[in-house]
Symmetry: C2
Subunit: 310 residues, 2 copies
């Protein structure tokens, strides 16, 4: 018997994962230390499922919901699980404590993936029992709409655990990538950080408004990037492929980068400049409404992408 | 009488512009020094229009095509035009020569935008008659699917010319942004270059394959970025907006950037590493076919975006 999937930490990230797993047909057992979060969990999930249904992104929400059980103890969620997705608060002490507890309850061959977006798993699993089956499986929120998962082993994670985590993520419909060894920010946030750094600098130097910098992405670069990555993009932008492109444009890009040798922290002044522009475009009180718009757009985009043949 | 729009340089970029202008109802007069390019032009445009029609992105292709006239002399295209889009070969000498010729034929209040992706217009318009009405209007290819246009004045371009170029680009359905003063690579290629730089480094250091780095964008970061920019993305990713986000994650991003202090040129070894992986994923002979796939995906995405209410 294959067993079930455990979701530990039932906030926004945990609820996203529960939907991913249950949508793929898995039995899901969810635990959170906070009783209020536990009590609200199925209502939250069921609202998200109805939203997905309106874009035809799931079949029967009630069938999916019926696969999810909320547990009152950690044991009840973890015992018998063959995959555990941990999404507790992003702090080393909190991650360490729950990982120690999970490690002691773990089935013989169960794998534990952490949702951490920034902390390498070696920082909180060194003293954990069965630590060779712990690793990072970092999603983007919400994972049922954005399929990327960064699989990042700790130095002591076995190859077998990596392989099985990777295969499992594919089986539940995600797009895992392998980060071969730990690196601060993994791949996704490093790429985002590099683009943001240039964006902040251009804003600081007065070359363009934050809104115009945003448009350069949302009406320009981001269109291709929603279905192919940066390397494939440049590979298709020269008759001889990426080598040809690099020969033509490498010097321009190097000149650009040379002007950015000394990265500064995002300064308070800089942040308040962008914040001012953003708040005048979108008052803080309208942020939740705009987040809802974003989620609707992500759903529409997911439906669009699902309809493309390749 | 408003006059027509002139398209100077009738290659891939010029043909894209002709479609943008004619689709918006403008009369378009096209010139290229090369007779073969002139002779093939309407066939090329008409094929592109039929493609667009298949995605419902244009109304009647023949009506649009009828608005386009190919001219045998530069005079015939430029005289009487109120906007001139120049898309000749990307080289200072070539741009200078055509700009001088255009400047002498220019109507009293006509504006000239150059499609250059990297050369500031001050590098080729300093000795041009009417240079105060020359600037850069940099598109992404193909402009009828990717609406961003970078409007970049030279130091001598008048505010009036900037304003009118900006308004004109909006009128023909593009999304112009203002680059307030000249900077190498403008905004779009600087952002792309920053992300590419980190991508090359991650590949070089063996953290991930080029394909996995690509997936991080195409199945992750790029989804949001296809409808909102990097600042709005982080603004919506913290309850208190961008300032709140920067406080939480600024230190992580700064740590990432500190590890990238000394930008190196894209080395031959590095390029051949990525090239090898790309060629094993996609042999060079299949590149044109994949470009066609990309264009179909861009069209489908444009149709999808046009169907979204906000």
């Amino acid at each position: 018997m294959k067993g079930h999937v455990a979701v530990i930490g039932a906030g926004l990230v945990g609820s996203g994962w529960a939907i991913v797993f249950a949508r793929a047909g898995e039995q899901v057992r969810v635990y959170d230390a906070n009783a209020v979060i536990r009590d609200d969990f199925l209502t939250l999930v069921s609202r998200q499922l109805l939203d997905l249904k309106s874009y035809d992104l799931v079949d029967d929400p009630s069938v999916i919901l019926a696969r999810i059980t909320v547990c009152v103890t950690l044991d009840d969620a973890v015992c018998g699980a063959y995959f555990v997705q941990e999404s507790v608060f992003e702090e080393v002490a909190v991650k360490t404590e729950i990982s120690i507890a999970i490690g002691q309850l773990l089935n013989d061959d169960a794998i534990v993936g952490s949702s951490t977006s920034g902390i390498p798993s070696s920082a909180f699993t060194s003293d954990v029992k069965n630590r060779e089956r712990f690793l990072v499986t970092h999603p983007v929120n919400p994972p049922y709409l954005v399929p990327i998962v960064e699989v990042v082993p700790a130095p002591w994670t076995t190859q077998d655990a990596v392989d099985r985590a990777f295969t499992f993520m594919e089986e539940v419909g995600q797009s895992p990538i392998l980060v071969r060894r730990e690196v601060e920010g993994f791949i996704l946030n490093r790429l985002q950080g590099a683009l943001l750094r240039e964006a902040w600098d251009l804003f600081a130097e007065g070359y363009a408004s934050a809104d115009d910098i945003d448009k350069t992405v949302s009406e320009g670069l981001g269109l291709r990037w929603s279905f192919m990555g940066p390397f494939e993009t440049i590979d298709l932008n020269a008759p001889g492929g990426v080598g040809d492109y690099a020969e033509r444009l490498g010097p321009l890009y190097h000149a650009i980068q040379k002007s950015r040798k000394n990265p500064q922290p995002w300064s308070a002044e800089l942040i308040s400049g962008v914040d001012e522009e953003r708040r005048s475009a979108l008052p803080l009180g309208k942020l939740p409404e705009r987040c809802n718009w974003r989620d609707q757009r992500l759903m529409a985009l997911a439906a669009h992408k699902a309809g493309q043949t390749s």
